[in-house]
Symmetry: C2
Subunit: 284 residues, 2 copies
Amino acid sequence: MAGVIRFDQHPSETLRVGDGFSLSDVDPDSTPGYSGTKEDGRLLLADMDDELTELQEKLFAESRFGGRKRILLILQAMDTAGKGGIVKHVMAAMDPQGVQFKAFKAPTDEEKSYDFLWRIEKEVPAAGMVGVFDRSHYEDVLIHRVHGWASPDEIKRRYAAIREFEDRLTDSGTKVVKVMLHISGKEQKERLLARLDNPEKHWKYNRGDLDERAFWEDYMNAYQSAIEETSTPDAPWHVVPANKKWYARIAVQQLLLGALEDLHLEWPKAEFDVPTERELILRS
Amino acid sequence: MAGVIRFDQHPSETLRVGDGFSLSDVDPDSTPGYSGTKEDGRLLLADMDDELTELQEKLFAESRFGGRKRILLILQAMDTAGKGGIVKHVMAAMDPQGVQFKAFKAPTDEEKSYDFLWRIEKEVPAAGMVGVFDRSHYEDVLIHRVHGWASPDEIKRRYAAIREFEDRLTDSGTKVVKVMLHISGKEQKERLLARLDNPEKHWKYNRGDLDERAFWEDYMNAYQSAIEETSTPDAPWHVVPANKKWYARIAVQQLLLGALEDLHLEWPKAEFDVPTERELILRS
């Protein structure tokens, strides 16, 4: 569409974690690579829906003919950062048949009795799907580190296990897209207050969020360490400034589009003779 | 929105199967209860998205506070009738977090070794979810009857088993919405030809669809019988004329809206003292 303001620089470049990354240098209010306004962002989000839908359909179509490709979007963030909004506003444009969504809650007793990747492995997306994890195996190196539920040695073991796990995903055809939505502590305070102001949002309010908020610095340190330890060439982290929800949405949409484009998808070729089939249908 | 043409009569009334129902009396080209055009239908579909989304969020919210309510939309149809389009155009407006989609393919050897409801039971929607079955346990009384894979006695046993199964779903808080999308044989022929005309649709073409097409009358008889035998007050069938895709979409959207309204959903009340929490957040 003419007049839509696009990114100057692709978020897969600007938001990708590289050497010497420091989370504290990322300004949650910034909009890297994008010079448009909130309204421009809204238009861009809508404008890209058709492309996203077509790429998703191609991905699905390939899998019907033996294709092994798939996407796994991993969303991590402090509470209220907008994971749900990403799913609702970015993923909702996609065909629900091709989206495999999983929210990881606190593990059950059964899940705790296994290695931390046991419950994750069962939810990896099928071929042709766009999988979305709302929280993930990263909780086991974030909240576990913050509260000391695992020793420093165990956390280190988990970093290595995560790298190997994600390597295996890549080897089996999965494009792993890791996103941390980054808000400021001040922004979180405002969003928590806003939930109290609106009775229709009261169900989203949880005292537990406030308890975790008290560990903000520890969480930032845990994120810094996890991001450093698990950013690999095939499965890099992207830190998305998220104080502006509209920016986070278009940025994650672009990351998804980029990941789908990297898969070089093609419509499957007919394995049948078109004139023969046409004749059969006409005679049916 | 002003100017949007709405249904004169709700599809839950006009399309609901009652005593003396005869599938052969339903005209697949008709648009019962709706006097608008294709363009009017498109506008209506878009206009109802927000209401659908809000009801879905309420359903989800209730479940976070112990609510047991949920929806199960069962879609059955001849090939090319537009099940996929319903999912893409009606369900896609919903938050993917609250949609539980399952397409049932030909059963695996493991699935065949159990009772036919074994694999179905595992996919019933969780509390708070809108479940969608693309094909279902009805295949076991449709294609199985048409090809004689089950004896008449066994088909009869399955009708009873389905009634009991769906009663249990209702008793545990599920609103079951059963939809047959009804197209004509002529319309199917045109849609199959259209798939051949567009190389981007070749992947959807399947010679097997043509083989089943040869059994059209047997399928219509199997549908008539299944619909008669399993339409119950709590889980009635709806036969949706589907030669006009736009009509089928707004009709199913209305059936979903009606089902959600029948659940009398409410936003959960705060179980905390709002001023106390506000003070805690401000001090954090």
